[in-house]
């Protein structure tokens, strides 16, 4: 298979008061058409930065990305994105949320055809009955199902998944991985996922790329996952190679973990939102009037 998506010498530099901070340096990866590749690493290592450059949401500081023979420049509907939190518009129903993107890329199709596309994908992810509910009426798992349907409905060249099940409990995560793998099997869309869940990476991917810890993060080790497809949970965890692959990935992650401080101060999840610690501090800071009370408790 030929290379479909090529990331060459991809580099991300953020300006910082102490001089430029190099987050990702010379990241090289080739993805074949129809392949499912997962990038694994600890939070804050720069894996989400690579993904957001691929999505066009973050500017590329050096190197470049070629997708289907064209160099990428900015975001576009040719890449369907599934975020960690589904980011649905709260005033629209599940149907309208999916239709929003479908209307953009299928503007030449008839109204009837667009409706069929949206209904098809929402039914396949198991929301046939809940299509016309608003996000507030849906559980977290169901919201993420809408997120998956929304990405697939655009029929994108590439599917990008940023820790898609990170906010769900482990058991709901298993169910949604099955939904995702089924849909992917039918569509064979080239997929690139970022995660830190070892089992998720093994269950879904053809190849798992381990990322070294930042700063100056790059590709560490690449592991092929030779588990037969179509995959089904029980058969996968009974496969004789499964637990040795699992151990290799856990070992890689643990070795990475010991290179830095065990319990980093409130900078976990830096990749996702640099503002989170600030917001948290604002939310939990006690008003100055409490200082008096504090002294009272002490005395």
């Amino acid at each position: 298979m030929s290379d479909y998506c090529e990331l060459s010498n991809l580099t991300k530099i953020y300006p910082a008061p102490q001089g430029p901070a190099v987050i990702v340096k010379d990241f090289n990866l080739r993805i074949a058409k129809g392949e499912f590749v997962t990038l694994i690493g600890h939070s804050g290592c720069g894996k989400s930065t690579v993904l957001s450059m691929l999505a066009g949401l973050s500017e590329i500081s050096g190197g470049g990305i070629i997708l289907a023979g064209k160099e990428l420049d900015g975001p576009g509907p040719d890449r369907g994105m599934v975020f960690q939190s589904p980011c649905l518009l709260p005033w629209m129903t599940a149907f309208e949320n999916v239709m929003l993107g479908v209307e953009q890329v299928f503007f030449t199709a008839s109204r009837e055809e667009r409706r069929e596309i949206v209904e098809y994908y929402l039914s396949v992810v198991g929301l046939g009955e809940a299509m016309h509910k608003k996000p507030a009426e849906l559980s977290q798992g169901m919201k993420q199902r809408v997120g998956i349907a929304r990405a697939f409905a655009l029929n994108p060249k590439m599917l990008l998944l940023d820790e898609p099940f990170g906010m769900l409990d482990s058991l709901t995560r298993y169910e949604l991985q099955q939904v995702l793998i089924e849909l992917w099997r039918k569509n064979k869309i080239t997929a690139f996922m970022v995660t830190h869940d070892v089992d998720e990476a093994l269950f879904l991917s053809d190849r798992v790329v381990c990322m070294t810890n930042g700063p100056e993060a790059q590709v560490g080790e690449i592991l092929s996952v030779p588990l037969p497809r179509p995959r089904e949970r029980k058969a996968v965890i009974e496969h004789p190679d499964y637990y040795s692959l699992r151990e290799r990935l856990i070992t890689f992650l643990e070795e990475r973990a010991h290179r830095k401080d065990i319990d980093p101060s409130p900078r976990e999840g830096r990749g996702r939102s640099r503002w989170r610690p600030v917001l948290e501090r604002c939310a939990t800071r006690s008003p100055s009037s409490l200082n008096g009370e504090r002294a009272g408790v002490r005395g």
């Binding site: 600890h42 939070s43 576009g76 509907p77 040719d78 953009q104 890329v105 299928f106 503007f107 030449t108 199709a109 055809e113 069929e116 596309i117 209904e119 098809y120 039914s123 396949v124 198991g126 929301l127 046939g128 809940a130 559980s139 977290q140 169901m142 655009l154 029929n155 994108p156 409990d169 482990s170 058991l171 709901t172 298993y174 169910e175 830190h196 869940d197 089992d199 949970r233 029980k234 965890i237 637990y243 040795s244 151990e247 856990i250 070992t251 992650l253 643990e254 973990a257 065990i262 319990d263 101060s265 409130p266 900078r267 976990e268 939990t284 800071r285 006690s286 009370e293 504090r294 408790v297």
Partner: protein, 299 residues
């Protein structure tokens, strides 16, 4: 009679039953993990044991005494830490010690608080307020606070669900170490089967609600101390993990019905939005819409 005895407990909120016919006996010094999907009533169960809720029917006894209200002999660690934001690490723990041992001389109380701060490795951060701590450190404070009351039983309500994978692994090791040193009776609620198997003597699954009940116990006879990497070679680990995950997923899928449905998917390619739109373009579908037969889940 066992140390903690839960017999035929039923709890409902309004019309819908949350927990039905809960029976569980826990021996002194045992570490039991209860695994379940989110939203099935795991927290309700821990609140019943903590005495924060009263059961509709059935009874809970601890050491032969009926549980009727919260008390210092049951230490609870909540998922959201529940620390007082205007108090430092030291003061948060001191508050609990003050309540549990009001008659101790102050020197003894101070020593006691410091011992538990040391146990969770927070001595350098003892004067910090919760807002200055990372999630992992906050949960350590919460754990130290519960342990400092020297409870007969420790109740952990998804203590690690809000933390990232790396911090979670570190704290799992910490809990395992502290448990081995103290040999307290522990009931831990979790949504992660792996966490339960790694830490507990016995894992009890909670079936999917509404009307959730406890499934068969899975005794974990893997010798301690356990290692996250080498555990992957243990045939007992593989066996328990497979059976537990299968049991959990089956209990949920019983509530879902899958039907075969005819759905239409128009065969249209998405438009390239980077090119200017042609106003009169009215591209037809390439072929007649495909009618697909899909197995669809009905929620």
């Amino acid at each position: 009679m066992s140390f903690l005895e839960i017999s035929h407990v039923r709890k409902s909120f309004g019309e819908s039953p949350v927990l039905e016919d809960i029976n569980l006996s826990i021996e002194k010094g045992e570490f039991v993990a209860i695994v379940g999907f989110s939203g099935v009533g795991k927290t309700t169960l821990i609140n019943l044991i903590a005495g924060l809720f009263k059961p509709d029917s059935g009874a809970l006894t601890l050491d032969g005494l009926k549980i009727a209200q919260p008390g210092p002999e049951r230490g609870v660690v909540f998922q959201n830490y529940s620390l007082l934001p205007w108090l430092s690490v030291y003061e948060n723990i001191e508050l609990a010690v003050e309540r549990a041992f009001p008659n101790w001389p102050s020197a003894r109380k101070r020593q006691h608080v410091e011992r538990y701060i040391g146990m969770v490795g927070l001595t350098p951060a003892r004067e910090k307020r919760p807002s200055e701590l990372s999630g992992g450190m906050r949960q350590r404070v919460s754990l130290a606070r519960a342990l400092a009351m020297d409870p007969q039983i420790l109740l952990l309500d998804e203590p690690l669900s809000a933390l990232d994978a790396l911090t979670r692994a570190t704290l799992q090791d910490e809990i395992s170490r502290i448990w081995q040193a103290n040999q307290k009776t522990v009931v831990m609620i979790t949504n992660d089967p792996d966490e339960g198997i790694y830490l507990a003597d016995r894992v009890v699954p909670l079936t999917a609600g509404p009307g959730a009940t406890l499934g068969p116990s899975f005794p974990i006879e893997i010798p301690r101390p356990r290692d996250r990497k080498t555990i992957n070679h243990d045939p007992r680990f593989k066996q328990i993990r497979r059976d537990l995950i299968e049991f959990m997923l089956k209990s949920r899928s019983k509530r879902h019905i899958a039907i075969t449905k005819k759905l239409v998917l128009p065969d249209i390619e998405p438009e390239d939005l980077s090119r200017p739109r042609r106003i009169f373009a009215n591209r037809r579908a390439r072929r007649r819409a495909e009618i697909k037969e899909e197995l669809v889940e009905v929620q």
